[in-house]
């Protein structure tokens, strides 16, 4: 135990204070005994003085100890506050004694505190500044941003989200997102459904194009939506959703499609006539020499291509307006491909490409719209023709059963597609400008995808630059369309590429 200066001083003080009255008493006794000349006087004085002395010592010790204990505690606490623990000797100016040490320690502790407080407040200012920065970034974004908690309730809602949806932060905070911000495609809550399916996953992202969102005033927006799922977020955020207003682009796109469709429709009549008269030239003996026949044949090929383009434009317009009107029927896929094979082979031959078919005979029946499927095959073949070289171009169609699905591939030995273009291939109006051939409207693959998906199937591409591409689609043998019953009246008609004829109307005996 450290030597206590405070205790020593206190002891001294009490000792003096306690000794003085005993001395005074002794002196008084002595004076009194002198006056009475009593021989016992000296002895009594000595006894009194010894008694006084020892009482003074005992009391001084007790009081000093009582007083020193709390002071020692204060001292220790002050040292600790100052951050020196039990070792004030570290400091440069060495304080003398506990009290000075305590004062010194308290002084340093207060300095320490002051420093801490100023540090903390500058940190708080920094945090506040960061928070303001984030808030202004969030609120100055033109995209709507909101966050959801575990229950799908809105916990964050930025300014753009508020402006775009016409709803205030107060009106949506704590509300279920699917109630106040229902993003729909064809009436379905696609995003909410996806979020629900991603429960417990982390860092998954989903994105949707052209979803419809009703504003508070009843008008609707077309938006692109992106959502990210978070797991174990310390702030309790379960999903972060951003949406981008595409209403004006969407309207523009609609106008573009409508205008182009109108123009395409007007073009159909003269093209019908050109095709018709070329057909008459080929079938009537009008005295064409071989060179003339060849020229007519070339013209027929070009017109076929032209009407293919126009059909695509009209096809997109139908897709956009939800008027695809597929009439599925149970067909034999092998027979279907064999039926369209001659026409496609001829189309390739006219362009000086070699087209061959390798179709498995062991395919189950499939519920599809034959006209739609012919459009898919025509587009894939035309695409392959456009991206192969005349003369050396080879295209092969294969079809087989894989995992209960009918898989059909169109493989070519053409230019292939660069990686950066692959992801955009199936989008509307996309054409890769880097390619030598930029023929076509950029609609063919979009139409293929729409038709295949409408049948519950899917399409993809494998490609290698300079080596060729492999476009493959799969059709489930139990399709989405299979659930629909064919229109009862159409069951007794024969549907061909150009329309339908009632079976009962066909001439008997043929």
């Amino acid at each position: 135990m450290k030597h206590s200066q405070f205790k020593r001083r206190t002891f001294g003080l009490f000792f003096v204070v306690a000794l003085l009255p005993s001395l005074v008493m002794a002196a008084a006794w002595y004076s009194a005994s002198q006056l009475t000349a009593d021989g016992m006087g000296i002895a009594v004085v000595i006894v009194l003085m010894v008694f006084g002395l020892s009482t003074a010592v005992i009391f001084s010790f007790i009081f000093a100890s009582l007083l020193a204990r709390p002071v020692r505690r204060i001292h220790q606490a002050a040292l600790q506050l100052a951050g020196d623990k039990n070792n004030p000797a570290n400091t440069s100016t060495k304080p003398q004694g506990e009290l000075e040490e305590t004062i010194y320690a308290l002084k340093r502790a207060s300095e320490h505190l002051e420093q801490k407080v100023s540090e903390t407040s500058s940190e708080m200012a920094l945090i506040e500044a960061e928070r303001n920065k984030l808030r202004s970034v969030l609120n100055s974004m033109s995209d709507g941003v909101f966050a959801l908690d575990d229950d799908g309730r809105i916990v964050l809602f930025n300014h753009a989200a508020s402006v775009l949806t016409g709803r205030s932060v107060g009106a949506v905070a704590g509300q279920l997102a699917e109630k106040v911000l229902p993003f729909r495609r064809n009436g379905e809550l696609v995003m909410t459904r996806w979020l629900a399916s991603q429960l417990g996953t982390d860092n998954k992202r989903g994105s949707w194009k052209g979803l419809e969102l009703y504003r508070a005033d009843g008008t609707s927006l077309f938006v692109d939506v992106q959502a990210m799922v978070l797991k174990d977020d310390p702030n309790g955020i379960r999903a972060l959703v951003t949406f981008h207003d595409l209403t004006s682009e969407h309207k523009l796109e609609e106008m573009k499609v409508d205008f182009v469709a109108l123009a395409a429709h007007e073009l159909r009549t003269p093209i019908t006539e050109i095709r018709g008269y070329l057909d008459i030239m080929q079938h009537e003996p009008i005295g064409l020499r071989p060179v003339g026949r060849d020229l007519v044949e070339r013209t027929v090929a070009s017109v076929a291509q032209l009407s293919g383009l126009i059909n695509n434009i009209l096809g997109v317009s139908r897709i956009e307006h939800g008027e695809m009107n597929y009439q599925p029927e149970l067909i034999n896929w092998h027979d279907f491909l064999k039926e369209i094979e001659p026409q496609l082979v001829e189309r390739a031959r006219q362009s000086d490409r070699k087209l061959s078919f390798k179709v498995s005979t062991k395919l189950p029946l499939v519920m599809v719209d034959p006209i739609g499927m012919k459009e898919v095959m025509m587009n894939l073949i035309n695409n392959a023709i456009d991206h192969t070289e005349s003369g050396t171009g080879k295209i092969e169609v294969t079809s087989k059963l894989v995992d209960h699905e009918i898989e059909t591939s169109v493989v070519d030995n053409g230019t292939g597609i660069p990686g950066e273009a692959v992801q955009h291939l199936f989008t509307k109006f996309f054409r890769y400008e880097g390619l030598k051939s930029t023929r076509g409207t950029g609609l063919g693959l979009y139409i293929c995808k729409s038709i295949v998906e409408e049948h519950g199937g899917y399409i993809w591409v494998e490609t290698k630059l300079g080596q060729g591409s492999n476009f493959t689609f799969r059709l489930p043998t139990k399709t989405k369309l299979a659930g629909q019953r064919p229109t009862s009246d159409t069951s007794n008609v024969t549907r061909g590429i150009h329309g339908w004829i009632k079976n009962s109307s066909l001439r008997r005996g043929r």
Binding site: H265, R268, T269, I271, T272, E273, R275, G276, Y277, L278, D279, I280, Q282, H283, E284, S307, I310, N311, L314, R318, E323, N325, Q327, T487, D489, T490, V493, I497, H498, G499, W500, I501, K502, S505, L506, R507, R510
Partner: protein, 125 residues
């Protein structure tokens, strides 16, 4: 051969009907023309045809209206006549309407060349 089989071509676009009629005539059919629905009904009130090729979008009565009045209760005596809609309307609605009004066929003009039309007609009459 088609022999004396007769066809009434109801179409407001003259070049189109003449083009198809040329191939039909060469194949041995006798082809008459009407350029709107009312004219077609007038002709049909006195004449009998084996086949009517009927456009939909025409001035005045539409092809569907002509079809309905021909196949309706006061059927103008066209019960034995085959009727094919020949149009560029590819909408399912029009096609179903034609089927309901008892057309014998529905053909998209842009998808059929004259020689193919001759082939289809040959299967019907």
């Amino acid at each position: 051969m088609a022999g004396s089989k007769t066809v009434l071509f109801v179409e407001d676009d003259k070049p189109i009907s003449e083009m198809y009629a040329r191939a039909l005539t060469r194949a041995g059919y006798k082809v008459d023309f009407a350029y709107n629905g009312d004219e077609a009904l007038r002709i049909l009130s006195t004449e009998q045809y084996d086949l009517i090729l009927l456009d939909i979008m025409m001035p005045g009565k539409t092809g569907i209206e002509v079809l309905q009045s021909l196949r309706g209760p006061d059927g103008k005596g066209a019960a034995k006549t085959k009727i094919i809609i020949l149009t560029n309307l590819a909408q399912k609605k029009a096609s179903l309407e034609a089927l309901k009004a008892q057309a014998d066929g529905y053909i998209i003009k842009a998808d059929i060349v004259p020689s193919q039309l001759v082939e289809v007609v040959g299967k019907l009459i």
